[in-house]
């Protein structure tokens, strides 16, 4: 079994972004997805700090200190991009104007609950940013997450242990081992990496998995 790398996970998630979609990429791993938009598709990336049409990181010499992304890194604007204030940025988020939010997670539950804002570690003050707004507001919430924690504990659980960002919001999960859909019947395995079978994947997952009849091998190029 060969798990996907983080870049390959981002590549896989990017393949599902449709031409013309308005998309918000969460901080961290999801941000990488913008590097892998399939050629010929126009995707408009939204940033919570008032940008539609966010482009790649600036080339040397093109940096503008007034132009940053949600992770406070320097970014650029593509032709056709626009700026607006925070209230409009979150009106777009909460009001269902974004087609997809691709978010990171600590845990996702069988029912699609998302936990991605606090581990309640007393060493760190909590912070939520725009996570809860994205989780309740985007038309479709998809999650990018390593299948297990570093010490092998499942992140796809029967119910979340960490505090929720929002209940029942996640539709699709991309992990380094599988592509999963949250459905009324339970979590359906759409794709799995080669060398893994349902029993093997189930052993790394707390939620009960259902194998789709037409499941495919999860493959990604070396990116």
């Amino acid at each position: 079994m060969k798990p996907l790398t983080r870049r390959q996970m981002a590549w896989r998630a990017a393949q599902d972004l449709e031409d013309g979609a308005y998309v918000n990429l969460g901080i961290g791993l999801p941000t990488l997805c913008s590097d892998f938009v399939p050629e010929g598709r126009e995707i408009v990336f939204h940033s919570e700090n008032g940008i539609l049409g966010m482009g790649p990181a600036p080339k040397p010499g093109e940096e503008d200190p007034d132009l940053i992304n949600a992770g406070k890194q320097l970014t650029t604007l593509v032709p056709g991009g626009t700026y607006f204030h925070h209230n409009d940025a979150f009106l777009m988020i909460r009001g269902g104007h974004l087609d997809v939010a691709l978010l990171g997670a600590f845990e996702v539950s069988q029912g699609g609950d998302l936990a991605n804002w606090t581990t309640e570690d007393p060493n760190f003050p909590p912070g939520v940013g725009g996570a809860m707004d994205l989780a309740v507001g985007a038309r479709e919430v998809r999650v990018l997450v390593e299948h297990t924690t570093k010490d092998g504990k499942p992140r796809i659980r029967k119910s979340c242990v960490y505090p929720l960002t929002a209940p029942h919001c996640v539709k699709r999960i991309y992990t380094n081992l599988a592509v999963l859909d949250v459905t009324r019947e339970g979590i359906v395995v759409r794709e799995m990496v080669a060398g893994l079978d349902l029993a093997g994947l189930q052993a790394l997952t707390e939620a009960t998995l259902i194998l789709a009849n037409d499941w495919k091998k999860l493959e990604a190029p070396a990116v």
Binding site: S47, E48, N49, G50, I51, D64, P65, D66, L67, I68, K72, L77, Y83, F84, H85, H86, N87, A89, F90, I93, R94, F124, P125, P126, G127, V128, G129, G130, A131, M132, D133, V136, G137, P163, L164, T165, A166, P167
Partner: protein, 219 residues
């Protein structure tokens, strides 16, 4: 004649009292009125409640106010921004109260404060720890949480250009919370890069009409 220009930063922040609620604009350090916040610190004012997206970057601006113990409470969505060491030290020492508000709710609460709206129902935080203890209502089959408005005694903002009426334009993502906070306070003070002649800002490009602005200063 309407002339909102003031000459010095000290004049710009004059009259903000101990215990005031101050809306501090910016997303991280971008769009943050650093010089106004430094001037506010220099007045010696204390016991402030600051409303901001983050809790200060580096040592200047909001971070400096926190470092010097002037902020009793911060209301923000995400305190751990780039280089938040002043806030972290105050938080660990138990010297600052923290209220976490989801970013869109923070923004909408100020809009409500600006618009004379006494509260609103929002889906964000329903069914989570941050929604606990708040009044909820089911509307068309979905659960909403009641949120109340926020108004500031003062708002400190940053814009790119202004005229003497206080009309403002912004630059790129430095707009962020500025137009919103400018509307939501009793006293709105704005630092700008440049003041231009009345009539020379393109009216189609003014993002904050001067009605919301009380003082402008070049910094």
């Amino acid at each position: 004649m309407i002339d909102k220009r003031v000459r010095t930063l000290a004049e710009a922040v004059a009259g903000i009292k101990d215990g005031a609620t101050v809306l501090c604009s910016g997303f991280g350090a971008v769009g943050e009125p650093v010089e106004l916040l430094n001037a506010l610190r220099d007045t010696g004012v204390r016991d402030l409640v600051c409303v901001a997206n983050n809790a200060g970057t580096g040592d200047e601006g909001l971070a400096g106010l926190i470092r010097d113990g002037r902020v009793r409470k911060i209301v923000c969505s995400f305190p751990r921004t780039t280089d938040p060491h002043c806030f972290e030290a105050a938080y660990k020492a138990g010297k600052i109260e923290l209220e976490i508000v989801p970013q869109g709710t923070l923004s909408e609460r100020m809009r409500a404060g600006a618009a004379g709206i006494g509260g609103f129902f929002v889906k964000t935080s329903a069914g989570t720890k941050l929604g606990r203890g708040k009044e909820t209502r089911e509307i068309d089959g979905e659960l909403y949480v009641l949120e109340k408005p926020i108004r500031g005694d003062a708002a400190l903002c940053r814009a790119d250009r202004a005229d003497r009426w206080g009309n403002l334009t912004y630059r790129k993502s430095a707009r962020n919370f500025n137009p919103l906070m400018a509307m939501a306070a009793d006293l709105t003070v704005v630092q700008v890069r440049e003041i231009v002649d009345l009539g020379s800002l393109d009216p189609e490009c003014v993002a904050t009409p001067g009605i919301f602005v009380d003082r402008i200063v070049v910094a």
